[in-house]
């Protein structure tokens, strides 16, 4: 069921996920489109997430934004954000959740600094911008990096803090799949007044729209964005996985099928979460309502497809 409407306020609105927004030329969403978008959100009972560019909006836009309950996704450095986006590694402090968009190499190199940042932000979402480029050797490194970060998270918990790092702590807290939901629970309104599955589809191919404000939504084969229609994912318990439908499309040509790389990365995180949960519990009661994360003998559910029924 649709719950969220992401509104890209400008052609240069910051990327907050795997995709890149290479647009340099500022071009605000027309004010009437913004108004219509907000109206659509109200009528469909959707929570609106505004994605900001790196400059201040005109007063008229701010008034429309404030006319509805919403959250603001802004580039790091801006005021009054609900989520801050950092593109490329840099040390940050903030009192709102931070999305750190970095490459795998940046993560590998800055592992220790990232561990320190966990104490400086209420929540850190690390988004790897080159998941599809992971090779076998990278998986090994990633496993080690997660183990290193896990030790730091454990220490913070022992010190009575509650750090949140999506790669490690999300899976511990979850009892079911919690994916991105693009095309299923969320859609995106672009500055051109058209709807897209997510911002990535807009920036990749403007012709790939799924409706517009005038005619409404028309998602073809919309069932394919749901978990039940994803043969690999519905057999998976790496519940923290973004299950990025755009990356799926890019790597396997199907929105419902993840790549090997996405699956292995998600399972390395899952397994690291398993170890973290066990370690924290050695210090005392922790998340008693959550079961242990099971030990499994695979990193890619695809390899177990012969056992699916």
């Amino acid at each position: 069921m649709l719950q969220y409407l992401i509104i890209l306020l400008d052609e240069t609105s910051t990327s907050f996920c795997h995709y890149e927004n290479a647009n340099q030329e500022r071009k605000l969403m027309p004010l009437d489109v913004l108004k219509e978008g907000v109206r659509f959100g109200m009528m469909e009972n959707l929570m609106i997430q505004f994605v900001y560019p790196d400059y201040e909006l005109p007063q008229a836009y701010q008034e429309v934004v404030e006319s509805i309950d919403h959250s603001k996704i802004k580039p790091y450095g801006q005021e009054d954000a609900d989520v801050l986006i950092v593109n490329g590694f840099q040390k940050v402090k903030a009192d709102v959740p931070v999305v750190l968009r970095i490459t795998k190499q940046e993560l590998f190199v800055h592992q220790e600094e990232i561990a320190v940042m966990l104490g400086d932000v209420p929540r850190l979402n690390v988004v790897l911008t080159d998941v599809e480029a992971f090779a076998e050797a990278d998986f090994e490194t990633y496993k080690k990096v997660l183990a290193g970060l896990s030790s730091e998270v454990e220490k913070l918990y022992v010190d009575g803090k509650s750090p949140q790092l999506n790669l490690l702590t999300d899976r511990m807290m979850l009892s079911q799949m919690n994916n991105c939901g693009a095309g299923d629970t969320s859609i995106t309104l672009a500055p051109n007044g058209k709807f897209y599955v997510c911002p990535a589809f807009y920036y990749e191919n403007e012709a790939d729209s799924i409706g517009d404000l005038e005619h409404g939504l028309g998602i073809k084969n919309k069932q394919l964005y749901k978990l039940e229609y994803a043969p690999i994912c519905r057999h998976c318990d790496a519940w923290q996985c973004k299950r990025c439908v755009w990356l799926n499309c890019k790597t396997t040509l199907e929105v419902n099928t993840p790549s090997h790389e996405q699956c292995v990365v998600a399972h390395l995180e899952r397994n690291a979460s398993r170890e973290l949960l066990r370690s924290i519990r050695q210090h005392g009661t922790f998340l008693p309502e959550r079961e242990e994360i099971k030990e499994i003998d695979y990193l890619d559910p695809f390899d177990k497809r012969d056992t699916w029924q």
């Binding site: 073809k220 084969n221 929105v255 090997h260 695809f302 497809r305």
Partner: protein
């Protein structure tokens, strides 16, 4: 000792006769086989009206260099291609237009499989579906003589002259090709008596089904494998006309006693039943488990995903002879199941078994760029087939019971194959 002497010595040593090895039409390891298709040419002498190959042309012919690269790559993937057997399929256009290239590829395959101690050397076939026009040419006949234990050759003939010439016409002048094909049938049957033919039914062919099948039986072809095209070509009332033809054919086969030695794949005891959601959830089509290679050296999950087969979608290229297979692009194919791609109506269908689909046509006809949307253009035709099929078996078994012959028939009844593409 030359090769010929070597063979004589060897054959005289192995003196016990063995039989029971049918070709690909029969039981030859089909389920455990990898199917590798070389699209050697996109040219054909004919311009069949129902042909799904929308992009046929005279320019795209596979070069030896590409073919060799493909063989080298495929044989280097033994670790990933673990199927017990392999079928090397050569298609076009018309494959025998490139018989010299095919001969060279087959020789190279045999040599390299042997040199590499590849497990497929113990279990391979070269397979062809041909229009039969140059079947009797010296080059084709030399090739057959050289590879006769490893061949499956199907000549496509659509039935009687009228039905065949309705669709299978020459590209150059629109003339029917029946006479030029049928002259080669006796030679083909002499060389491959157990092989069947393949017939494709489109809307305009419906009135000729009965006559055509009986005609093919009359030519000495014991197995006639038929399918209706998957494309959305059907007109209002076609299902009724189709059903009527199949009922008439059922009567003719039973009353004429053809059921003892002849098979028409329209009638199968396994079709027309509901399917279990869990236990019978497998995909029908083998796309993705197969591999097709075109003249440019691109790999496809099946020929139907190459550009020349597609009306409205981009080709799905899963790699090439230089870079190999992108395994990520195979994942959707290898995890595809029946229910995920089917509409609720199909999942709940009481006569679902035997209702086929072609992944390529599904993709081509889908509302988005997906293989996960099942095309259902043949729905009414399948239901008509099921009704006629029920009639056939009820009538046949009653007859056999009255004659006290049912048990004997059950033991020795000829088998048919479900042919879908």
């Amino acid at each position: 000792m030359n090769s010929h002497e070597l063979l004589l010595l060897y054959n005289s040593f192995v003196h016990l006769i063995m039989s029971g090895l049918k070709g690909l039409q029969g039981e030859w390891h089909e389920e455990a086989s990898k199917n590798i298709t070389f699209i050697v040419t996109k040219d054909c002498q004919l311009a069949c009206k129902y042909c799904y190959l929308v992009g046929k042309n005279t320019k795209e012919r596979m070069s030896w260099k590409t073919a060799k690269q493909a063989v080298d790559y495929i044989l280097s993937c033994e670790k990933d291609m673990t199927e017990d057997s392999v079928i090397f399929d050569f298609i076009g256009g018309e494959p025998f237009l490139e018989i010299s290239l095919i001969d060279r590829i087959c020789d190279y395959l045999k040599m390299r499989m042997y040199e590499l101690n590849h497990h497929w050397f113990n279990s391979y076939r070269f397979s062809f579906t041909t229009n039969g026009l140059n079947y009797d040419s010296p080059k084709v006949q030399q090739f057959i003589a050289k590879n006769d234990h490893h061949l499956s050759i199907v000549i496509t003939i659509d039935g009687n002259k009228l039905k065949h010439n309705l669709n299978r016409i020459y590209k150059k002048d629109g003339k029917g090709s029946y006479d030029d094909v049928v002259k080669n049938i006796p030679l083909w049957l002499e060389q491959f008596p157990e092989f069947g033919t393949k017939v494709t039914i489109s809307s305009a062919d419906i009135p000729y089904i009965k006559e055509s099948v009986l005609h093919l039986f009359g030519l000495g072809i014991h197995e006639v494998n038929i399918n209706v095209v998957f494309e959305n070509v059907w007109k209002e009332g076609d299902d009724k006309r189709f059903e009527e033809q199949l009922m008439q054919l059922a009567d003719a086969i039973i009353d004429g006693g053809f059921y003892e030695d002849y098979v028409c794949s329209f009638y199968s005891e396994n079709i027309g039943k509901p399917l279990d959601l869990v236990l019978e959830n497998q995909n029908w089509c083998g796309a993705g488990m197969m591999l097709s290679i075109d003249a440019l050296g691109n790999f496809y999950p099946c020929t139907r995903f190459a550009a020349y087969s597609l009306r409205s979608k981009k080709p799905i290229i899963i790699g090439n002879v230089r870079d190999g297979i992108d395994k990520n692009k195979l994942r959707p194919f290898l995890t595809l199941d029946r229910t995920t791609q089917s509409r609720q109506e199909c999942i709940d269908c009481e006569v679902a078994s035997g209702c086929a689909w072609c992944q390529g046509e599904n993709y081509d006809a889908a509302d988005t760029n997906t293989i996960y949307q099942r095309a259902t253009a043949i729905c009414k035709m399948h239901k008509a087939r099921v009704r006629a099929n029920n009639y056939y078996w009820n009538k046949l078994y009653r007859k056999l019971e009255l004659e006290g012959m049912r048990e004997e028939f059950e033991k020795s009844k000829p088998k048919s194959n479900d042919v879908i593409c």
